[in-house]
């Protein structure tokens, strides 16, 4: 039966092609991380720290407390998705930072006044989605680069949030923080087989899986991905790339807002007036999204990896007095290294050619 044979051959060829894609992706991720850690070691050496000791502390302390590791990775999973889903549709959402702020604030306020966690989460998702949509609307209807809008919105929301938690929603008993999330609206931590698994982490994984399904198994997701790869082909197929941008930013913003609610309800339970509980989570999410190859499942693992780096970074500071900003540096170099996949492909084909010449 030649037709069946052809089918299997096609399937096998397709799998082989995909396996090569996955292999290439894994190689790029691995190479980028290696470049990041090498550059980090060099910088530490120049600054007079022992890089081996720093990395030993980083890795041995960053990943020992599994429950804490998963809890800390929770908002990062969501801010990474906030970056990656729009990225698939060809938009660069670096507004995950402020979308998370809005989610954290609305989640906090609804929990404080209404004592209801599900409602708090819904409010946070709507708030984040609205902010994401705002950026997308300016891009689609006014032609304004989404990066510029997002950064301006990030700073506006940063100062607005600082005002709200220091002013109207300040905790009179504890002036260095906002009003708290009441016990009844907190997301509990479950003890499963001796490990404390945060309920918020479980919700984040469910959220990531839902978004994975939307992106890879629905028509909406398909249109988004086609528009991202080639807006011209999308138009030719009768899809609207503009609508894809709006949808992707709506989903991305919703994810970051959700992350903000999970952070406040499941972990910190209030926002400190220096905003250290929320600041930077959106920016870190960008690196995680890139490292996770814009795939929600890859992102879960990348978020756990990065949050280990961040936790380990605090112990590095505690034990060795080394700068905690090593993690920003590492993430920066890894992201720069991830921007040049063409260079890696070029190196590989060059090595192959040399081998063939011999």
């Amino acid at each position: 039966m030649p037709s069946k044979d052809g089918f299997f051959q096609k399937l096998r060829a397709r799998f082989r092609a995909r396996a090569q894609d996955y292999g290439m992706a894994a190689l790029e991720v691995f190479l980028s991380a290696a470049i990041g850690f090498l550059a980090g070691a060099l910088a530490l050496l120049v600054l007079g720290y022992d890089p081996l000791k720093v990395y030993e502390v980083l890795f041995s302390w960053g990943y020992t407390d599994i429950g804490y590791l998963l809890l800390k990775s929770t908002p990062l999973i969501m801010t990474a998705i906030a970056f990656s889903i729009p990225a698939l549709a060809g938009v660069f959402n670096i507004g995950g930072e402020s979308q998370l702020y809005v989610g954290a604030l609305l989640g906090l306020l609804v929990a404080y006044y209404i004592h209801n966690a599900p409602l708090a989460i819904v409010a946070a998702i709507l708030g984040g989605a609205g902010l994401g949509l705002f950026i997308a609307l300016l891009r689609v209807y006014r032609g304004i680069n989404e990066v510029i809008t997002a950064i301006m919105v990030n700073w506006i929301m940063y100062w607005l949030l600082a005002y709200l938690v220091t002013g109207p929603f300040n905790n009179p008993k504890l002036p260095q923080q906002s009003v708290p999330v009441p016990k009844s609206a907190q997301i509990p931590v479950f003890s499963i087989g001796g490990v404390n698994i945060a309920g918020s982490f479980i919700l984040a994984v469910i959220g990531a899986l839902v978004i994975y399904y939307i992106v890879f198994y629905t028509k909406t997701g398909y249109i988004m991905r086609v528009s991202g790869l080639s807006p011209a082909s999308a138009k030719y197929a009768g899809f609207s790339p503009e609508k894809a941008i709006l949808t992707s930013m709506l989903i991305g913003g919703a994810a970051a807002g959700f992350g903000g609610a999970l952070l406040v309800l499941g972990d910190v339970h209030s926002i400190d007036t220096t905003l250290s509980a929320v600041y930077g989570l959106g920016f870190t999410g960008i690196g995680i999204g890139l490292l996770g190859r814009n795939n929600p499942i890859g992102i879960i693992f990348a978020a756990i990896f990065f949050s280990g780096l961040l936790i380990g970074g605090q112990y590095v500071e505690l034990f060795l007095n080394a700068p905690p900003n090593l993690s920003d540096f590492l993430i920066g170099v890894i992201v720069i290294a991830l921007s040049i996949p063409y260079a890696y492909r070029f190196i590989i084909s060059w090595i192959k050619r040399r081998r063939m010449a011999k």
Partner: protein, 308 residues
């Protein structure tokens, strides 16, 4: 209520805060005209202002510090130029990565040198031109005059000279440029370095000519305001002067307004101060969103030039 002295003070602050935005905008216009977008202006501001602070602290020579900060800007441009023009990297991702890298590096060194997590020790700054008017003093940063001249020269160079035309050709139609004998990759690299050099000068100015200290929020989105100004100016260095003055004014207003209001109404603002900090960002957003006309960016902007 508003006195002549107030207006002079506002004008001083506008001129002072306009300088880094104008330098970075003109630099980025040159870079983008060649077809490369550098979103790492924020990172260049951070790393060059930090380098300048370190040099000023250890040598006591702010002029040398200004030079070193500028060179650090050039080196940042070299990195981005190689990634963009030769390695066909994703320019946006590289720029975002650079911002995080620059922030991390500057803060790491700050902690290592001074065991401080928020700000550096203060350093000596370069002098401003002082003009006594209306019972107060108008401060004119000499670099503001230089920045105006740079903008005019950049406009003339890009539009009226052969080499300027070559740069624009690389950003409009790199394939035709190449067939005319222009080395597209090298031109883009040079344009990126030139743009980053001007941004580096602006960054160094931030610490050794203006604030006199490095803080972790030193650039505070100015790099992105400069990017917004590039779009606002429609890639025209002369219009970028106007844009920089507008953005400088709103940033001056965010400091002036709360002081004046407290003085008039005899109140003491606490948390409300934070609200005034949003003024320059809201103004940028509103200006870009509503006043901006339909702009036309260089056609090959942000696209790697891949030879067949």
């Amino acid at each position: 209520m508003i006195t002549g002295a107030d207006i002079i003070n506002l004008l001083s602050s506008t001129l002072i805060s306009m300088v880094p935005i104008l330098l970075a905008s003109v630099g980025e216009i040159i870079t983008e005209k060649s077809g490369v977008v550098n979103i790492g202006l924020e990172g260049i501001f951070i790393i060059s202002s930090f380098a300048a602070t370190v040099v000023a602290y250890y040598t006591g020579d702010p002029l040398l510090a200004l030079l070193v900060g500028t060179i650090v800007g050039s080196l940042s441009g070299l990195l981005h130029g190689v990634i963009s023009a030769y390695l066909n990297g994703d320019q946006i991702i590289a720029g975002v990565g650079f911002n995080s890298f620059a922030y991390g590096l500057a803060l790491m060194i700050m902690v290592a040198l001074w065991q401080s997590y928020g700000s550096s020790p203060t350093v000596k700054t370069l002098p401003m031109i002082l003009v006594p008017v209306a019972g107060t003093t108008l401060y004119i940063p000499p670099l503001a005059i230089a920045a105006f001249i740079v903008a005019v020269l950049a406009h003339y160079w890009l539009n009226k000279t052969r080499s300027g035309l070559k740069v624009r050709a690389c950003g409009e139609d790199p394939r035709s440029a190449e067939s005319m004998g222009i080395n597209v990759r090298r031109t883009r690299l040079y344009a990126t370095i030139l743009g980053a050099t001007l941004t580096g000068l602006g960054g160094a100015y931030l610490t050794v000519w203006w604030i006199g200290q490095f803080t972790k929020f030193i650039s505070a989105g100015r790099g992105f305001i400069a990017l917004a100004n590039v779009a606002f100016s429609n890639w025209n260095p002369l219009l970028a002067i106007l844009g920089a003055l507008i953005f400088g004014f709103f940033s001056a207003l965010s400091i002036f307004l709360p002081l004046k209001l407290q003085q008039i109404y005899h109140v003491q603002y606490t948390a409300q101060i934070y609200l005034f900090n949003t003024i320059p960002y809201i103004a940028t957003l509103v200006i870009v969103a509503f006043i901006m006309k339909r702009v036309r960016m260089p056609r090959a902007l942000g696209k790697p030039y891949i030879k067949e």
